[in-house]
Homo-oligomer: 204 residues x 2
């Protein structure tokens, strides 16, 4: 059930027990929804007792917080990495959309959870994740505005355009399944072309 | 809490009690998530006893089914209406995106539920809703392909493009709130421009 992108979120930095709990939480939240999941469901999924779970995480909210923080940090890294990889807004945007789209396709299980359960986060985690989301959207907007300033993009409103770009990628996590016929990379390339056009680029 | 678009979904065709139960179900599902909502929550929200609820609906799944069917039928009407309103693919698509987007902004509460809880539907309702979703996407694709055939649109792949168009509108229900600064109509107009560009139209 767990896709590779989800498994890769926690490579070696956690203890094996914490990692098993995080993956079991992702699976339970995806299957039952966050609210209907109990810590017992998660512990069982990880092959542990509820008491053993509490050694690592005080609550299911703590697990959701770590999943959401990790997912959002990885997304921000990807977005900022695309910006840093080139000085050209067209190339920055193409790479950003290709990777952002492919990431939401590969990581659709965790993507659905972190995007649908924002309001279930405890206050401190919500504030941190909201800040990461703003930085992601600001990066997209910065690239758009740089392209507009250079005459390479032309949009009615850079905030709406940035929202549309991120929205298109985020929604991939809702509809993409392991049975989808396009690979994450192929979908990324096609979305890259569509987004560059949407931004009025002559390069697409 | 209930937005106008949700209230308008059940105008006069239901009994007052059934209507109150549907609206209370939308509110409960939106607040707690479908899985964590009980029929008692819904009955209480409608100012009724659980026994009174069962006179109208045998289960919360029956309420979800009616909400999802009604929401999807209304969406299909809107999409087919946009196609019927003009013979020109550019105008059909502009109108479709404007109305589809504004609809998901106005009806964001019910939009979130019907899009996130598809897999909670009983088999017969799922089959019916899946069929409605296919007809919605087929309408979008038909308009795109007509535009391509006339040389007015140009896309790498009409299926991916149709998916991107519907995805962009559906995701509005996830992020739009009553505190959003753009009105549903303004957002619809801007998305109309962005989508026509995305489809390679010279008209946007």
């Amino acid at each position: 059930m767990t896709d590779q992108a989800t498994a890769d979120l926690w490579p070696g930095e956690r203890t094996e027990a914490a990692r098993r709990l995080l993956l079991a939480a992702v699976e339970s939240f995806a299957r039952r929804g966050y609210h209907a999941t109990t810590t017992r469901d998660i512990a069982t999924g990880a092959g542990m007792s509820p008491a053993a779970l509490y050694i690592h995480y005080p609550s299911k909210a703590a697990l959701l917080s770590e999943i959401s923080r990790t997912g959002h940090r990885a997304t921000l890294d990807l977005v900022e990495g695309a910006e840093a990889a080139s000085g050209e807004p067209v190339e920055q945007m193409r790479r950003l959309v290709e990777e952002f789209t492919a990431w939401h396709a590969r990581g659709h299980t965790v993507g659905r959870i972190v995007n649908n359960e924002l309001h279930a986060l405890p206050e401190d985690a919500f504030a941190e994740v909201a800040e990461l989301r703003i930085r992601i959207e600001d990066t997209v907007r910065r690239i758009i505005e740089k392209g507009v300033a250079r005459g390479e993009f032309e949009v009615p409103d850079s905030r709406t355009a940035a929202r549309a770009v991120t929205s298109l990628g985020i929604d991939v996590a809702r509809w993409y399944t392991d049975r989808s016929t396009e690979s994450p990379e192929e979908l990324g390339r096609r979305y890259g072309v569509l987004v560059l056009r949407m931004l009025g680029s002559a390069a697409a």
